[in-house]
C-alpha cells in the first residue's frame, strides 16, 4: 500500500470513529491497532507498548498531575476570592473595573494554575455574578472570563507547555519563561479593549457605586493581603524554575506544598478537601495520560509506515518559502482547533511538525509559544471552543451558548493580533529564557 493511500485510510478511519462519539483516546488506539495488524502484524504492538511505557515513566509528564492537584487545592483555598476582591477594589476608578479586575486576577491565577477549565469555572463563579448584577454588557462580562481564563495556556505553569515540551523535546523550563511576555501582551490587549470599549460606550459597564469604591485607604491596604499568598506561590514555582533551583516537575511539587500551606493559612484545609482533590486529579490525569498513550501508538504506527516523511514532503511543498510553511501550519492548527481539543492537536501534529520546524532553522521554544497562542484562539473559537463550555457549565441555562460565542469575538481578534506579534518578533518569546540561570 502506498503511503498516500495509508494516510487517507488512516484519516478516514480516525474521523469516522471520532464522529461516532467514541472517546478520542480509544479512537487513536483502535485506529493504530487496525493499521498495525493489517500492515505489520501483532508483534509491532508489543513495540508500541514499549513506547507507551516510556510515556508512563516520562519525567516531564509528572508535572501534569501535580499542577492539576495544585489547582484543585487552590480552588478550595479561597485564594481566588481574596485576589479578585483586592484587584477589583484597586481597579475601581476605571470604567469596567470588574472586567479589568477579572483579567488581572486571571493573569495572576494563571501564574499558579496551569489548566484553563479550573480558571474559567473559578472566575465564572466569583466574578460573573457581580458583573451581571451591575448590568455589564455580555461582551465585556462573559468575554473577559473566557479570554482571561484562556490565558492559563500561555502564562506559566501551563499544562499545554508541558505536553508540547514532551512531544517536541524542547525544555519545559525555557517554554514556561518564554510564555511570560507574550502572555502579558495578551492581557494588556484585553485590558486595553475593555478600557476603550467602555470609554466609547459607557453603558456597557456602569461604574461602581461611589460608596463601594470610596473605601478608606487603610481598608484598601488590608485587602492587599489577598495578593501576598498568590504572589509568593507564583514566585516560588516560577522563580525556582527560572533560577534553576528545581526542575519543572519538582517546581510543580513545590507548588502543591505551597497550595496546601495557602489553604491552611486561610483555614480551608480539610482532609476531605485533599481527598477529593486527589480523586479529581487522578481522573483528569488518567484521561490525559491515555490520550498520550493512544497518540504514542498511532504516531508510532504512522511513522513506521513512512508517514513522517510523507507529511514532511507535503508540508515542504507549501509555497512562499519557510514563512509560507509557518503560516500554513498556523492555519492547520487553528482549523484543527475548531474541532479537536488542544491535547489531541499537540499529540497528533507536533511529532510531525517539530522536526520540520527545526530543519527550517526555527526555534522550537518560540514555536511552542506560537502554538500556545493558537490554542488560546481555539479555546475561544466556535464551534468547539472549550472555554465556552466551561463557562456554560457555571452559568447554567440563563445564558445561551451563542451569546458567549459572540462575547468572545473581540477577544478572539485581539488574540490574532498577539499571535501576529509573537510570530513576527521571536525576541518577545526568546529574550527572557536567554537570561535564565542554568
Amino acid at each position: 500500500m502506498s503511503i498516500e493511500l495509508i494516510t487517507i485510510l488512516l484519516l478516514a478511519t480516525f474521523i469516522l470513529l471520532l464522529v461516532t462519539g467514541l472517546p478520542l483516546a480509544w479512537v487513536m488506539g483502535a485506529t493504530a491497532v487496525i493499521f498495525s495488524l493489517t500492515l505489520f502484524g501483532p508483534n509491532v504492538m508489543v513495540m508500541m507498548v514499549g513506547r507507551v511505557y516510556q510515556m508512563m515513566l516520562n519525567y516531564a509528564l509528572v508535572a501534569v498531575p501535580l499542577f492539576i492537584f495544585m489547582a484543585a487545592i487552590l480552588q478550595q483555598s479561597g485564594v481566588a476570592d481574596q485576589l479578585f476582591k483586592a484587584v477589583y477594589i484597586w481597579s475601581g476608578p476605571f470604567r469596567g473595573g470588574l472586567a479589568i479586575g477579572t483579567i488581572i486576577s486571571c493573569t495572576i491565577m494563571a501564574a499558579m494554575v496551569g489548566i484553563v477549565g479550573a480558571e474559567i469555572v473559578t472566575f465564572g463563579m466569583i466574578a460573573l455574578p457581580g458583573m451581571l448584577k451591575r448590568k455589564y454588557d455580555g461582551r465585556i462580562a462573559l468575554g473577559s472570563i473566557c479570554a482571561g481564563g484562556g490565558m492559563a495556556t500561555l502564562i506559566p505553569p501551563s499544562v499545554v507547555f508541558i505536553v508540547y515540551a514532551m512531544t517536541a523535546g524542547a525544555p519545559v523550563g525555557d517554554l514556561f519563561i518564554a510564555g511570560i511576555i507574550p502572555g502579558l501582551i495578551l492581557g494588556t490587549l484585553f485590558i486595553g479593549y475593555i478600557i476603550v470599549a467602555t470609554w466609547l460606550k459607557p453603558e456597557m459597564a456602569p461604574a461602581a457605586p461611589k460608596e463601594e469604591r470610596n473605601m478608606p485607604l487603610k481598608e484598601k491596604l488590608v485587602l492587599l493581603k489577598g495578593l501576598i499568598m498568590p504572589s509568593l506561590l507564583a514566585i516560588s514555582v516560577l522563580g525556582s524554575i527560572y533560577a534553576g533551583v528545581a526542575t519543572p516537575s519538582e517546581a510543580a511539587g513545590i507548588g502543591c506544598l505551597g497550595a496546601i500551606v495557602t489553604a491552611a493559612v486561610n483555614r480551608k484545609l480539610t482532609f476531605s478537601g485533599i481527598k477529593s482533590s486527589l480523586y479529581e486529579t487522578v481522573k483528569i490525569s488518567c484521561m490525559l495520560a491515555w490520550l498520550f498513550f493512544g497518540a504514542q501508538t498511532i504516531i508510532g504506527i504512522y511513522t513506521l509506515a513512512g508517514g513522517d516523511q510523507f507529511v514532511r514532503n507535503t508540508v515542504m511543498a507549501i509555497p512562499f518559502g519557510k514563512w509560507g510553511i509557518i503560516i500554513g501550519m498556523q492555519l492547520i492548527l487553528i482549523f484543527l482547533g475548531m474541532f479537536l481539543d488542544w491535547i489531541g492537536i499537540v499529540l497528533l501534529t507536533m511529532p510531525l511538525f517539530v522536526p520540520i520546524i527545526e530543519d527550517l532553522g526555527f526555534n522550537t521554544v518560540w514555536f511552542g509559544v506560537v502554538f500556545c497562542m493558537n490554542m488560546h484562539i481555539s479555546y475561544l473559537s466556535p464551534p468547539f471552543g472549550p472555554s465556552i463550555f466551561y463557562l456554560k457549565s457555571v452559568v447554567g441555562d440563563e445564558i445561551p451558548v451563542g451569546q458567549i460565542y459572540r462575547a468572545n469575538l473581540p477577544y478572539l481578534w485581539l488574540t490574532f493580533v498577539a499571535l501576529a506579534f509573537t510570530v513576527a518578533f521571536p525576541g518577545l518569546s526568546l529574550w527572557l529564557p536567554s537570561m535564565m540561570l542554568k
Binding site: M45, L257, L278, K283, C286
Partner: protein, 166 residues
C-alpha cells in the same frame, strides 16, 4: 448480572482511589528532595525515579474509574444531538473498536511485562529498582479498562434493546 456490574464498578473505583493516593507521597518526596539538596547538600538517588513511578502507576490504575465516570473526552458535534437510546446503540457498536484496542493492548502489554519479569529487569540507574511493578500495574490497568468498558457495553446494549436502564 446487576451484581456483577456493580462489582466491576466498585473494583474500578477502589483501584482508582488507591492509585490517586500515590500522588501525595510524590509531593512529599519532592519536598524532601529539595530540603535534602539545598539545606543538607545531600541529594537523594531515589526521588526522581519514585516520582515517575508513583505518577506512572496512577495513570493506569485510575483509567477504568475515569471511564466509569465518563471522563474520557470525545467529540460530541453529532453524538451530543442524539437521544440517549440512539447513543446507546452507537456506543454498543463502537465498543467493538474499544474492545479490539484493549484486547490487543492487553495481550501485547502482558507479553512485554512477562519478558521483563523473566529477566528480572531493573532501571539500571544508581538506585536500580526493579521495573516489573510498574509493568504489572499497566497490565492490571488495561485489564480493568477492558472489564469496565465491557460493563458499560452490557448496560448500553440492554438500554438499546429494552429501553430501560440495567
Amino acid at each position: 448480572m446487576k451484581k456483577l456490574l456493580s462489582f466491576i464498578d466498585a473494583l474500578s473505583t477502589l483501584v482508582g482511589k488507591a492509585g490517586s493516593w500515590l500522588i501525595l507521597p510524590v509531593v512529599v518526596f519532592i519536598g524532601y528532595e529539595i530540603v535534602m539538596r539545598y539545606i543538607f547538600h545531600l541529594p537523594t538517588l531515589w526521588v526522581s525515579e519514585s516520582m515517575v513511578f508513583g505518577c506512572g502507576m496512577s495513570y493506569v490504575l485510575g483509567a477504568a474509574w475515569a471511564l466509569k465516570d465518563n471522563r474520557h473526552v470525545k467529540i460530541d458535534l453529532i453524538y451530543g444531538r442524539l437521544t440517549a437510546r440512539q447513543r446507546a446503540v452507537i456506543d454498543s457498536i463502537t465498543y467493538l473498536f474499544f474492545a479490539l484496542y484493549m484486547t490487543v493492548f492487553l495481550w501485547a502489554a502482558s507479553k512485554y511485562t512477562w519478558q521483563s519479569i523473566l529477566v528480572g529487569e531493573t532501571t539500571s540507574s544508581a538506585w536500580d529498582p526493579p521495573v516489573y511493578p510498574i509493568k504489572i500495574a499497566l497490565v492490571v490497568g488495561v485489564a480493568l479498562l477492558l472489564l469496565q468498558g465491557t460493563a458499560k457495553f452490557i448496560r448500553d446494549l440492554h438500554f438499546a434493546i429494552k429501553g430501560t436502564e440495567l
